[in-house]
C-alpha cells in the first residue's frame, strides 16, 4: 500500500498497518491483502464482485476488517459482501470505504452488505465513509446494508460519514425475528454542495424484538440532507427512531419518519428535531473564553461524538 492508501485506511478503520485477525483489503478494485482464521473464512464470490464472510457458530472475541480504498480517480464499482454469522457468535466487523480522488473523473463505490445473523449471535458492525482529494472529480458512495436477524440475535451498527462524500444514498433494511435487537447509530456531516440521503426501513416481525435507530447529522454550507425512516411493528415489539439535525448556513434538511403498527402491542416512537445551534449554547461557551467559531466547532464535535 502507498501513503495515500495508508492514510485512507487510518481514516476509515483507525488502522495503520494490516489488522490483526481476519481481514480483506480491497484497493482500486483488486484484493490488496487477505487473512482468514480458524473460525472466520473469507471467500471470493464467483458470480459477481465481492466476498462471503463466514463466521463459525460460537466464535467469540474475534474481529473482521474489510476496508475498501479507492485512490485512482474514475473507478466505479458495485461490490456485494455477504456475512454469515453462526449461532452464538460474538464478533466485531469493521467495514468502510475511503476515496482519494485527485482527478477529474467521478469515483464511485456502491457496497451492498447483507448480514445473516444466526440465533443469539451478537455483532458489532462499524462502518465509516470518507473522501478526500484536490481534483474536481466527484466522490460518490451508496452503501446498502441488509440485515436479517434470527431469534435472539443482536446487531449494533455504527455508521459514520463526516467528510468528503459529494453524494450518498445510504440504505438500511432490516427484519427481526423474536427477541432480536437492532441498534443503529448514524453520524453524518455534509458541507459544500454535498447531498446525503438516509433511508431506514425495519420490519419488527417476532415477538419481543426491538429496534432503536438514532441519527445525528450536521448540514453546513449549501449541502442537502434527506432522512427517511420506516418502522413496521408487526408483533409485540418496541421500535424507536430519532433524527436530530443541526442546520447551518444555507443548508437544507428534510426528515420524513414513518411508523406503522400492525399489532395492538407494538410500541413505536419517533422523534425528529432540526434546528440551528442554540444561541445560549454559543453564549455559554463564549463566557468560558471561546470565540464564536471555536464554540460552534466544540458544539458540533460533541454532537457527532
Amino acid at each position: 500500500m502507498d501513503l495515500i492508501q495508508k492514510n485512507l485506511l487510518s481514516q476509515i478503520a483507525d488502522l495503520h498497518e494490516v489488522p490483526e485477525g481476519a481481514y480483506n483489503i480491497r484497493a482500486n478494485g483488486a484484493s490488496a491483502g487477505k487473512n482468514t482464521t480458524a473460525n472466520i473464512d473469507i471467500v471470493q464470490k464467483e458470480d459477481k464482485d465481492g466476498i462471503d464472510i463466514v463466521i463459525k457458530p460460537g466464535t467469540v472475541n474475534e474481529s473482521v476488517h474489510i476496508p475498501v480504498l479507492l485512490s485512482q480517480s474514475g473507478i466505479q464499482e458495485v461490490v456485494y459482501n455477504d456475512f454469515y454469522i453462526g449461532e452464538g457468535a460474538d464478533v466485531t466487523i469493521v467495514a468502510g470505504c475511503g476515496i482519494h480522488n485527485c482527478g477529474v473523473d467521478t469515483s464511485k463505490h456502491d457496497g451492498v452488505h447483507t448480514f445473516y445473523i444466526g440465533k443469539n449471535a451478537k455483532v458489532k458492525y462499524v462502518e465509516r465513509h470518507y473522501g478526500e482529494g484536490d481534483g474536481n472529480g466527484e466522490n460518490i458512495m451508496n452503501p446498502e446494508t441488509i440485515i436479517h436477524l434470527e431469534e435472539g440475535a443482536v446487531l449494533e451498527m455504527e455508521t459514520t460519514q463526516i467528510k468528503g462524500i459529494d453524494s450518498t444514498n445510504r440504505i438500511t433494511r432490516g427484519d427481526l425475528a423474536a427477541g432480536a435487537t437492532l441498534e443503529v447509530r448514524e453520524k453524518l456531516m455534509t458541507h459544500g454542495k454535498q447531498y446525503a440521503r438516509t433511508d431506514f426501513s425495519v420490519d419488527l416481525n417476532g415477538d419481543g424484538c426491538s429496534a432503536n435507530i438514532i441519527s445525528r447529522s450536521v448540514a453546513r454550507d449549501e449541502s442537502r440532507q434527506e432522512f427517511f425512516s420506516n418502522i413496521n411493528g408487526n408483533s409485540v415489539c418496541t421500535g424507536h427512531s430519532e433524527c436530530d439535525a443541526i442546520i447551518m448556513d444555507q443548508a437544507v434538511v428534510a426528515a420524513s419518519p414513518q411508523l406503522t403498527a400492525a399489532n395492538i402491542d407494538a410500541s413505536l416512537i419517533h422523534e425528529a428535531a432540526i434546528g440551528k445551534i442554540a444561541g445560549e449554547q454559543l453564549i455559554k461557551l463564549m463566557t468560558l473564553g471561546l470565540t464564536e467559531a471555536e464554540a460552534e466547532e466544540q458544539i458540533i464535535n460533541g454532537f457527532l461524538k
Binding site: 445560549e280 453564549i283 455559554k284 463566557t287 468560558l288 473564553g289 458544539i299 464535535n301 461524538k305
Partner: protein
C-alpha cells in the same frame, strides 16, 4: 475592581420605551458582593451586561480601570470575567469533562477534574462522562455550572441566582459550597440572590428595584432593613 458608570438599558415593548436599568453607577471591589431585590428589578440584566451578553443603551463598564464596554463576551471572558447562568444550558454530546476542560482552557486529567468536582460536592467517577443534559437534576447542573467557574479561576465570578430551580435540600448543601468559595477563592464573587443565607455571608449588599439602586452598603447596614420590610402587596399585607 469593577466600575459601572451611568448604565442605562432601554427596551421597546409594543413601541413604548421601557427602562430596565436607569442610570446605575456603582463600584465593586469587595471580595463577596450580593445583589438582591424584587423579581423584574433589573438584577439579571445587570449581571449579563457585565459579562457582555447584553450591551447597555448608554454608560460605561470598567474592569480594573480599563473600559470594557465595547468588548464582546469572549474578550471579557479572557479579561477575567466568568458568568454562571441562572438556568444552566444543555448540550447534546458534550460531557462534564469536556466543559470543565474548555473552562480551564486545557485538557484536564481525571485527577484535575476530580479536584474541581469535589469542591462542589460531586464525585468525579459518577459525573465525568455524563452529558450536560436533562438526565442531570437541577441541583447537579447548578453544581457543574459552578465547577466551570472554579475551573476558570478568574478575578471576577458572577453567579446569577444559584438557588433558582433547585430544591431546599440541594440549596442547603450548595450554600456550603459558597461559604467555602468565599474563604478560598481570590478575586471578587458577585452573586445575585434572594437567599438570606447568601446575603448573610456578603461583604456588601446592593439592592436593585425598578432598575435603580435602592440601597447599597455593608451587610450590617443593609440586611436588617431587608429582613424587616415587607415587599408584599397591600392586600397580602392586610391579610397577614
Amino acid at each position: 475592581m469593577l466600575e459601572l458608570r451611568n448604565i442605562c438599558y432601554d427596551v421597546d415593548v409594543e413601541n413604548e420605551k421601557k427602562e430596565i436599568l436607569k442610570n446605575v453607577s456603582l463600584t465593586i471591589d469587595e471580595h463577596f458582593v450580593a445583589i438582591t431585590g424584587p423579581n423584574g428589578g433589573g438584577k439579571s440584566t445587570l449581571a449579563k451586561m457585565i459579562a457582555g451578553i447584553i450591551q447597555p443603551t448608554s454608560g460605561q463598564i470598567l474592569l480594573d480601570g480599563e473600559d470594557i464596554t465595547n468588548l464582546n463576551i469572549t474578550e471579557r471572558a479572557r479579561k477575567g470575567i466568568s458568568f454562571a447562568f441562572q438556568q444552566p444550558v444543555h448540550f447534546k454530546g458534550l460531557t462534564v469533562k469536556d466543559l470543565i476542560s474548555i473552562a480551564a482552557g486545557k485538557t484536564m486529567s481525571v485527577n484535575d477534574i476530580c479536584n474541581i468536582l469535589s469542591e462542589v460536592g460531586l464525585c468525579a467517577r459518577d459525573y465525568i462522562d455524563r452529558e450536560i443534559n436533562a438526565s442531570l437534576s437541577g441541583g447537579e447542573l447548578k453544581r457543574i455550572e459552578i465547577a466551570m467557574i472554579l475551573a476558570r479561576g478568574t478575578k471576577m465570578s458572577i453567579f446569577d441566582e444559584p438557588e433558582a430551580g433547585i430544591d431546599l435540600w440541594s440549596f442547603n448543601s450548595l450554600i456550603k459550597v459558597f461559604e467555602k468559595m468565599r474563604d478560598e477563592i481570590h478575586g471578587t464573587i458577585l452573586i445575585i440572590s434572594h437567599q438570606e443565607k447568601i446575603l448573610n455571608i456578603a461583604d456588601k449588599i446592593i439592592v436593585i428595584a425598578n432598575g435603580e439602586i435602592e440601597k447599597i452598603g455593608t451587610r450590617e447596614e443593609v440586611l436588617p432593613t431587608l429582613l424587616y420590610t415587607s415587599r408584599s402587596c397591600q392586600t397580602l399585607a392586610d391579610k397577614q
